[in-house]
Symmetry: C2
Subunit: 756 residues, 2 copies
């Protein structure tokens, strides 16, 4: 791999930084078009009902109302891009029926000249519902019941996987612990509410939508399918986006399709923007899970068996319910070498808002259960929780039994050692119990997360690089950047390979008419998968460029040349050199016999989905009078293969820490009779700046051989094992073992009472 | 060459036809942006003056005025893209001084919140001029004079070329004719006035301009140079355009740069739109020429010598003055095999609006002189004008002495024969003279025009083809389409090669951030040069696609496959087939081990600049009482190599006929003391529908081996020799030989008087 040290490993500022701080960056809600209409959704007040009749006559007559679409006209988009693989499977993405399945489920959309008129029109619509009994509890949903949320029943998906001999495994165990864990219905809570779309269907039959999707190309596919259009007639453009965290990982329920439908009816641009309350109540959430886990180990700390049974509540509809359970399985089984493993998972429908992808994608739930189990075992056998992990994790060179791939890089040991050293683990872990009512503790946890989805989902990445005649370059990639800095990192990769200065690389915004096929930003994949595509496209362009320079420098072989900081030179004789600008001007303009632009392309799948690893050390103080848990510090060490932009990696680790603390202590939708009780930032508590402890990021670089410059992922993993570390720390501080997220003061006080 | 007959040679409708007839197509003047300012130019009232001082204080204070730029701040853009070849040459493109050189020369631009405020502001500006003596006559300009329009003098360019031995040539001649011809200052007169630009300079340092340029990439280069920006920070987007004819072949004087400058000052989008009067008075025109020609021939009709001296009036500034004279030379020398040829040309400055590129690019002027000379010789030696041309034209296989290339296709004989047959030449040419005061006549003329500029200018073409997972495809090309249908023709080429139905090909608009390097639409080049790039990019994609299909069809070699109408099949066993859609879905989504989009690219120069040929037969009626000339019919036969879209070729032939009649009879700017007397369509007469005779297009296909599917050019040539045919017909009808365009009634009456 070419790495001249020019750009890789340097913390360049975000290429869109100036746009964002000056307010020049246009987010979807900022976009306005001539003749633009505004659309609003009428949402179901019932958790489960049949729509018998919709009387929209009065609304249609309201001056300024231009079009109305109902769920009787427009298909709902469910499932995810795994289902695009065949025409038959693709049909399962779409659902058109007259049932509403949660409070907030869209029934109808109206497009009008302004928002006020659209809202007035909604108030004039009369919907006749036939109320159906609702199910809110996933355990209820699973039982034999006449209440069927979907035609095929309430079980959306189930899977079972067995490795080794589970019974034999437990026989070998000296200690067996069995517990049931529950996790909350967390929201993405991005700064920009999820759900803004402007659809513009033109009279020539072309639909253009501006939508803050993470998956521009799959949104294109979904919309084409829902509206019966060919792909070249659907253009998806992603503007700047204020955070996503998985919440924009698909076509947002009721948004893009309805918006596009209304635009097709009116041949005017139609804009729909969800409010914060709509985001909270009616877009996807993390899957709440009930996880039963039975784990066995020997007195020496060998993990002999793990039996896992997951019940995942996917809400009224499902998109990612299969993948999320699969991720529980692969990350749970993948992290430790437990010979005998039995995994079963079920996803069931309930009459709550649907669940989908959220940073970690099943892993935080699974990790909470498994890392708690291991902590309990360590305590039972009197072993250092650090030691039991060092002893059991799957090392470099071992096989991953789910992916059936050899682990080519694993820096977990370094993460554990560095984190332990930096957090002063040994000392803090063994200190005397506090005598005051404020109890301190330290806990740790590990995690593995896959990079990308090469073995699990269609996972293409592509890039095109065009070099300009002045030696600057344009990079076309559909890698969506929700704020994490993908475009900057990809520019760094292109810069390093091409030898063109970072500031001379321009990066496109995702636009399906322009940027080649990319499966979007998810699965911590863009530095790795996107980086590989950019690397290969840049290598293609680099070679073509060097071939011309070879002749100009009177050499024979292009690979005798190097390039750095805009200058091409003979590797063995750097004084023999020529600026890229000179070569490019000559080949594109100067020599009238050539006049060729250098264009490099690449498209394909990453060769692996390498695991990246992390160890989080959490220090807490528990107020035993109030039950309040306060995180004092996180020490988060993550093996990212190679940090192409260290500042961004640290940003991910710190941001993941903040989200992880929220998952542990404060974040989760609260329901009563199907109503969300906390659909706003006053009642749904994400961490404020003043709530956030010191988070120390530690970057470990294990040099993943399949990655660009050794890089693999970080985005999701950084939040995965924060809650488990905190829960383990709470136990260390108080002896109270939390088995339910969020860990509330009430739970702590009850636990303390039970200890007495 | 792959040609399954699916799309090549079929008259598909324009892909933007629906947009245009429904009004959905957005032209530059239709574009509006948030916070957009409006700019207006203050223009010089003097033909030649020094700007001593500009007092804009009052204008700056006017509420709503946001910025002012003057010629003291902003460089003028002159020259053309030949000068981009080296950094040293590039500097000659820019001129910054305090001199105004024609009435209408911009002095200052103001940007304000609306047009009214901008205009009011102009009225508040006081400019102190030092008037300089003006020169309007090119002959005066050439003389030794103290009046220097440019520092280096009044001669912009001169060239001399000699083939054979001119004196010996005249010695061999039995007949020598010597005449001086004059041509008019024709305007492009496109439906959309020339000159609209919206410049948007963002705080991140990026300039985006929307401009109806024919040369998006060269505009990008000019703007980068003028403003000191790198190329990746300048984005040029071309919206729909209402005709160009060479008038948008560069950065329009005072428009893009001033507009961009104002946007950089204000960080707001700035729009400037020229009025029709501004278009007429202050954008480029055809070069008026004075051509002295002395031609010798034997009694047998062998052309033995031609001596040509051209004086080209380039106005106050020059852009294309070199190329235009070079084109006179290459087309004049190229068409006939005249062994001894002496060519000299001079371009001089005068204090009139500058000249530039206009359909034909020097050829119509040269052709008028040379085809008149040949007609005169034919008459003198009593030979059929058809015969003398058949006898002297350069045939296929001969060398072109200017390009130094062998002629690979030449259908001129077929053009002459078919045109003669269809116009009933023989009968009409030999009929008895009319006795009435209405005199009828028929005349003919030939022409050669080069396709593209591969040997004359940097002439790159590029294309990228991306195939979608449903078997539709996107074509990226910067080939500007001003209405002639380039994008449709290029879609046909891509469709034929890829075997994807025409309607399933989407074509980009030119956008320098997206579409690869193209030198723009000029020189009749896009079907040929653009077509070659698209062909090669599509071939690249086709091969990649067939390689995957080979395996799916259980074959060994990809070139055993064919593809047509969206289906790939074994050539020898067409029953063994698979739809493209199936192959593409599988490779991009279905097979998770591939997930690769097919992307094909090509960039480079055409292998030749093949000549295309035409013969025009004009029938006229001349009213000998009024001097009015009425064209009754044109029969226009053109060899285009291969008509990829016959309707479009016929459209070019008919449109060129209309413009040619205008050039012959009605079109030309009239000046008095440097003022244009006819800056509007009432006084500047282009042909109305009711003025237009029947024009019979005849397509001849000579199959140019270097072209895509045998194609070469047509766009410019179709107007080149119309005026000469009409003039020759007028002579046939009346005996009056016109040596000055336009042929006015006064001229005819004077000629008739002289005959008596």
């Amino acid at each position: 791999m070419i790495d001249t040290g020019s750009t890789i490993g340097k913390s360049f500022k975000r290429i869109d930084g100036v746009d964002k701080v000056t307010g020049a960056a246009k987010y979807a809600t900022d976009l306005k078009f001539n003749n633009m209409l505004h659309a609003k959704l009428l949402r179901s007040p019932h958790a489960h009902a049949k729509v018998k009749q919709i009387d929209a006559a009065a609304a249609r007559k309201l001056p300024g109302v231009k079009a109305i679409a109902t769920i009787l006209d427009v298909p709902k988009v469910l499932q995810y891009w795994f289902f695009l693989r065949t025409p038959k499977k693709e049909k399962q993405i779409f659902l058109r029926d007259n049932v509403v399945r949660f409070i907030g489920d869209p029934v109808l959309a109206v497009a009008a000249v302004d928002e006020q008129t659209a809202e007035k029109a909604l108030s004039l619509v009369h919907v006749e519902y036939e109320r159906l009994p609702a199910i809110f509890d996933p355990v209820e949903a699973m039982k034999e019941t006449d209440i069927k949320i979907h035609e095929r029943g309430n079980i959306a998906f189930q899977v079972k996987k067995e490795l080794g001999d589970i019974a034999a495994g437990f026989k070998k165990a000296d200690v067996i612990v069995e517990n049931t864990y529950h996790t909350s219905k967390q929201k993405h809570a991005s700064i920009e509410p999820i759900g803004t779309c402007i659809a513009d269907f033109e009279s020539n039959g072309k639909l253009t939508i501006h939508s803050s999707t993470q998956l521009p190309h799959w949104s294109q596919h979904y919309l084409a399918g829902a509206l019966g259009l060919r792909l070249h007639k659907v253009r998806v453009i992603k503007p700047y986006t204020g955070g996503a965290f998985g919440g924009r990982c698909g076509v947002i329920h009721g948004l893009e399709v309805m918006c596009s439908w209304l635009s097709r009816e009116t041949l005017q641009p139609v804009k729909m923007s969800f409010t914060r309350a709509e985001d909270f109540c009616a877009t996807e959430t993390r899957h709440p899970m009930m996880i039963k886990m039975k784990t066995g180990a020997t007195r020496q700390g060998v993990l002999t068996a793990n039996e896992v049974e997951i019940l995942s509540d996917t809400g009224g509809y499902g998109t990612h319910y299969i993948g999320v359970i699969a991720d529980c399985m692969s990350t749970g089984i993948g992290l430790y070498n437990i010979e005998n493993y039995q995994f079963s998972g079920k996803a069931v429908y309930t009459n709550k808002s649907m669940c989908g992808a959220l940073r970690g994608y099943g892993n935080p739930q699974m990790n909470f259960a498994q890392e708690s189990q291991i902590d309990i075992i360590a305590q039972k056998i009197g072993m250092d929780p650090l030691q039991i992990r060092l002893q059991n994790y799957r090392k470099k060179g071992e096989m991953d039994p789910i992916l059936n791939e050899r682990i080519l890089s694993n820096g977990l040991e370094e993460c554990l050692q560095k984190g332990a050293a930096s957090s002063d683990w040994k000392k803090k872990r063994t200190r005397q119990p506090d005598k005051d009512y404020i109890k301190s503790g330290i806990g740790l946890s590990c995690m593995l997360h896959g990079t990308g989805a090469a073995r699990a989902l269609p996972d293409p990445s592509s890039a095109t690089v065009m070099i300009n005649s002045d030696g600057t370059a344009s990079l076309h990639t559909a890698a969506a950047d929700e704020g994490q800095g993908n475009r900057t990192v990809l520019a760094q990769v292109a810069s390093e390979i091409l030898g063109i200065e970072f500031e001379n690389i321009e990066v496109s915004q995702p636009d399906t008419d322009i940027t080649p096929l990319d499966c979007g930003t998810h699965g911590s994949r863009q530095a790795y998968c996107g980086g590989l595509a950019v690397r290969d496209a840049a290598m293609d362009a680099r070679k073509k460029m060097l071939v011309y320079a070879t002749e100009m420098l009177e050499l024979k072989k292009w690979d005798h040349l190097s390039v750095k900081n805009g200058v091409i030179f003979e590797t063995a004789n750097p004084g023999n050199q020529i600026p890229i600008e000179e070569v490019m001007r000559k080949t594109q303009i100067g020599d009238m016999g050539i006049c060729r632009q250098i264009i490099g392309t690449a498209s394909g799948i990453a060769p692996a989905m390498p695991g990246y690893y992390g160890a989080v050390f959490a220090e807490v103080e528990v107020n035993t009078r109030t039950g309040d848990v306060k995180v004092k510090k996180l020490t988060s060490a993550f093996d990212v293969g190679k940090a192409i932009n260290p500042d961004f990696v640290e940003g991910q680790i710190v941001g993941g820490g903040v989200m992880g603390i929220g998952f542990a202590l404060t974040e989760g939708l609260q329901y009563k009779d199907g109503h969300v009780l906390n659909p706003n930032f006053t009642d749904y508590r994400i961490l404020r700046s003043c709530d956030t402890p010191r988070i120390e990021p530690i970057i470990v670089e294990s040099n993943e051989p399949s990655g660009p410059f050794g890089a693999k992922g970080i985005g999701e993993g950084s939040m995965v094992n924060v809650a488990s570390a905190i829960s383990n720390a709470v136990f260390h501080a108080t002896g109270v073992r939390s088995k339910r997220l969020c860990i509330t003061p009430e739970q702590i006080l009850q636990g303390l009472a039970e200890l007495k």
